[in-house]
């Protein structure tokens, strides 16, 4: 049976306007349609992925399905019920559950079970039955033990599973996930996707997964690509997602697995497409065997230059024995940092890896004295310090040559030298115009600067982040697109020409193309603008592709600091703290187990290069 059916659906957010107003002099319709003639069907029990760049109309699709929005024209039915008819709304909403993007903005209660109960309460289910529904829903998402917990203390993935439970408690037949994984870290994303797959298989719930992660779409029965309010591609995920060029045109990318196979094929080693690390490795092995290679060992260990020269001067960070306690001497006392030692060299593109709560954000906030080094260190002694243990060491924190343990240091000057871009920086924009917002920092730090200087600096900063100064300077920051806002926010930080630029999850929430653009922007800034760039990231591939050195934080400590190559070679250690490894590392590992040892630095480019060398070596040997 057809679960959802869209017929020639058009929708415009300007639909309140009269038709006349939206027609130009020739009587042509010039309305800006968010959905423009969409035909779309989902069969019962199907798992459909809807892909599309930001603003492609995919979220509108979700909201139309359960009547949160009404189409301007066309018909929508859900299990045969007309979704455009208000009489059916209640019934349709019982059958169609939506999980939204931001986990914080969809929970109504402060206790998990109360929140899950919200839906069943709304439709008037008796109390005993609600209890059973809560059991069922929490069990289905694997969150039984959190029944009495407070949502705000859970991780992103857990919050989103609670949101799914809240929807499940209404026993829907269809579940729509509207970019429900976009704001999560890889671990949370996996939690949510696993739950969704299970619901689809075991509970036979029809799933519409709206996403811009190609890897997630690979798991679906069918994929639909949207662009500018239209469905542009439709078919099996493996077929759709291997069309690299076509996807690029819609601001999407193929998954890394397919990209690697395609590039190898193009450059002379025919490898058929693989879906995941296992199949990619297998296909490469097959290809290598037919090229005559069955065993290989790279002896060369180059491409791993690490400058170990200590640094205490400009542009770097030296940190020794840094600890930080939240809510000291209260029942909530927690060690956010517990003796952190690390050095960031001048000129590094440095990566900080770790889970939420590992202390990485706390550490980063120390770098420009948003959190001060505790001066009265005796107070913060751990409770269980044994007698005769060595006395606490002195804390050292020097950033860009400024001593942060010294109270007489000019912290304002430091802040102008250490730029800090927080997660979702676009949410800090506030001024009337882009110019004023970017100039904000500059005026704070250099009140005496002349108008001309300010103008020049703002212009330079905006142009560095790839925006057209003349076109954008007088616009309100709130009328820009998501990607543009983020660029403006970054410009507002680099405008003071910091020596060190720190970014917390700079690519979070962006679509694949936006991600790539931001990362290449950071390399540009690194090359032309700031000496040292530090990024905090959950994404191991991002670290492997971009950083020259990286560190892992776990439980308030530095677990290891090394080049990504060495860091990721130690797969066991990464897994032991619950972290993932880059895709290429996984492939290399399987290859190694089969006798092919490739010493690459885990960037895609290097991996392809080295694999081709292996193939070539096989041919010359043969």
């Amino acid at each position: 049976m057809e679960a959802v059916k869209f017929e020639q659906v058009r929708f415009s957010y300007e639909s309140e306007n009269t038709n006349d107003a939206n027609q130009d002099v020739f009587g042509m319709d010039k309305t800006d349609y968010a959905l423009d003639g969409v035909d779309f069907t989902v069969q019962e029990g199907e798992f459909v992925a809807v892909l599309g760049h930001n603003g492609s109309g995919k979220s509108t699709l979700a909201r139309l399905t359960n009547g949160l929005l009404k189409p301007s024209s066309g018909g929508i039915t859900v299990f045969g019920l007309d979704a455009t008819n208000d009489k059916n709304l209640f019934e349709i909403r019982k059958q169609v559950g939506i999980v939204f993007q931001n986990p914080d903005n969809q929970t109504v209660a402060s206790i998990v079970e109360d929140d899950v109960a919200f839906g069943p309460e709304n439709v008037g289910i008796p109390r005993e039955e609600i209890g059973k529904r809560i059991d069922f829903a929490l069990h289905a998402v694997g969150m039984q033990e959190f029944r009495h917990a407070t949502p705000s203390r859970l991780s992103g993935g857990q919050k989103q599973r609670i949101a799914i439970a809240g929807v499940l408690a209404l026993k829907p037949k269809i579940m729509i996930l509207d970019e429900a994984t976009a704001m999560l870290d890889p671990r949370g994303r996996k939690e949510v996707i696993d739950v969704v797959l299970k619901l689809n298989k075991e509970e036979k719930i029809t799933v519409i997964l709206i996403t811009h992660f190609p890897e997630e779409a690979m798991l679906a029965d069918r994929a639909v690509v949207m662009s500018d309010g239209k469905i542009v591609l439709e078919g099996k995920p493996s077929e759709i997602l291997s069309q690299g060029e076509a996807l690029k045109q819609y601001a999407l990318t193929s998954p890394k697995s397919i990209r690697i196979c395609r590039e190898l094929t193009e450059r002379g080693l025919p490898v058929s497409d693989g879906m995941d690390a296992e199949s990619v490795a297998e296909n490469i092995l097959t290809a290598l065997r037919s090229a005559g290679v069955t065993a290989w060992k790279d002896t060369e260990t180059g491409a791993d230059v690490d400058n170990e020269a200590p640094c205490d001067g400009k542009g770097g960070v030296v940190c020794e024995n840094l600890s930080y306690v939240y809510n000291a001497k209260s029942p909530f006392e927690t060690y956010a940092l517990n003796g952190v030692d690390l050095q960031i060299h001048s000129g590094d593109f440095f990566g900080i890896i770790g889970h939420t709560g590992s202390g990485k954000s706390t550490f980063v906030q120390h770098l420009n004295a948003l959190l001060k080094v505790p001066t009265a260190q005796k107070k913060y002694k751990p409770k269980k310090q044994k007698k005769g243990a060595p006395p606490p060491q002195k804390t050292v924190l020097t950033v860009d040559g400024y001593d942060l343990t010294d109270k007489t240091t000019d912290f304002r000057e430091l802040r102008s030298k250490v730029g800090m871009v927080f997660q979702y920086p676009e949410y800090q924009l506030f001024a009337e115009t882009v110019f004023q917002d970017v100039a904000f920092g500059l005026k704070n730090f250099r009140a005496e600067a002349k108008e001309e200087e300010t103008k020049l600096a703002v212009k330079e900063a905006l142009e560095t982040v790839g925006l057209d100064y003349e076109e954008i300077k007088d616009k309100s920051p709130f009328e820009l697109s998501g990607g543009q806002k983020r660029r403006v926010a970054i410009a507002g930080v680099i405008v003071t020409k910091p020596e060190i630029l720190v970014l917390d999850e700079p690519a979070a929430g962006l679509d694949p193309l936006g991600k790539e653009e931001i990362m290449s922007l950071l390399h540009k800034i690194h090359a032309e603008w700031c000496k040292t760039v530090v990024i905090v990231s959950h994404d191991m591939d991002e670290i492997a592709e971009n950083c020259n050195r990286a560190t892992i934080f776990a439980d308030g400590k530095v677990l290891r600091l090394d080049t990504p190559k060495r860091l990721f070679s130690d797969v066991e250690k990464m897994v032991s703290v619950g972290l993932d490894v880059p895709f290429t590392t996984k492939v290399c590992q399987i290859l190694q187990a089969n006798g092919i040892e490739i010493a690459c630095d885990y960037t895609t480019a290097d991996f392809v290069e080295k694999t081709l060398l292996v193939a070539k070596g096989g041919r010359t040997n043969a």
Partner: protein, 270 residues
């Protein structure tokens, strides 16, 4: 992670913590009435005795209780000074120009301060032993009779619990925005009144915008989960009275009776 318990709730499993929130709210109201009805130190002493009894059974350390007084310390001092110097009385103890301290003034001030002290301590004991959520539940249940005059009790309670739910989120968000603007050189700590007010704008505007965005998304999420007001709505959690509440009822009833008796028959004490 950096969660300072809002409303200073002190997690414990004491007798007082386990009491029904409705009884606790009623208890506090009666206690406040008793404090106001008290005319002399004997009556106030009785109130203080009841307070101490409850505090003892609450398992809340005295330090936490006193911390709540800190917040109104300024008000307390201000009131004391005002009363001490300007209360008219006959027995003058000390005089400097037009300022004088009288015996009656001294007595009156001590009495008022003690009263205020007891009021603040009592109210903070409620918030220390009751989670905001159960407080909201209690208020909703107590206001139920108002449904008869079409007062939107359910909506009010929902608004209250959503507000409570978003306090930690918005607090975090404020912290984040403040940090971000501080990192861009914003200065919230120095300068005169006007400068400080102006400095708040870069925090307030993003915060407002985010609050609106959040409320819109929450509205959608609630709609999607079939929210349609209070009609035909059921409730999963129901408050039930236990033996603890009966004991609490007798304690506070005794206090009220005692204070009223003291008010009528102070004679046999003096």
């Amino acid at each position: 992670m950096r969660e300072v318990a809002f409303g200073q709730y002190y997690p414990a499993k004491s007798f007082v913590h386990k009491c029904d929130p409705r009884i606790k709210i009623l208890f506090l109201i009666v206690y406040i009435v008793a404090v106001f009805l008290s005319k002399n130190f004997y009556a106030l002493g009785a109130c203080a005795g009841v307070f101490l009894l409850v505090a003892l059974f609450s398992g809340v350390p005295f330090k936490s209780l006193l911390r709540s007084v800190k917040a109104i310390l300024f008000l307390l001092i201000f009131m004391t000074v005002l009363n001490l110097f300007f209360h008219t009385g006959e027995t003058v103890l000390w005089r400097w120009k037009f300022i004088k301290i009288t015996k009656e003034g001294l007595y009156h001030t001590a009495f008022l301060s003690a009263r205020l002290f007891l009021l603040v301590l009592g109210s903070s004991l409620l918030t220390l032993t009751t989670t905001p959520v159960s407080l909201a539940d209690g208020i909703e249940s107590l206001l139920t009779p108002l449904k008869w005059i079409r007062f939107p009790v359910h909506e009010l309670a929902l608004i209250m619990s959503i507000a409570l739910r978003f306090i930690p989120i918005l607090t975090d968000e404020t912290g984040r925005i403040m940090n971000a603007q501080k990192a861009r050189g914003a200065d919230f700590e120095t300068g005169g009144f006007f400068k400080r007010v102006k400095a708040v704008i870069p925090i307030l505007i993003p915060l407002l915008i985010s609050a609106f965005r959040r409320s819109e998304e929450l509205g959608d999420a609630m709609d999607a989960r079939c929210y349609a007001g209070s009609k035909m709505r059921t409730k999963y959690k129901k408050l039930t009275l236990t033996w603890r509440d009966v004991i609490a009822f007798f304690v506070v009833g005794g206090l009220l009776a005692g204070v009223i008796l003291l008010r009528m028959h102070t004679a046999w004490l003096v």
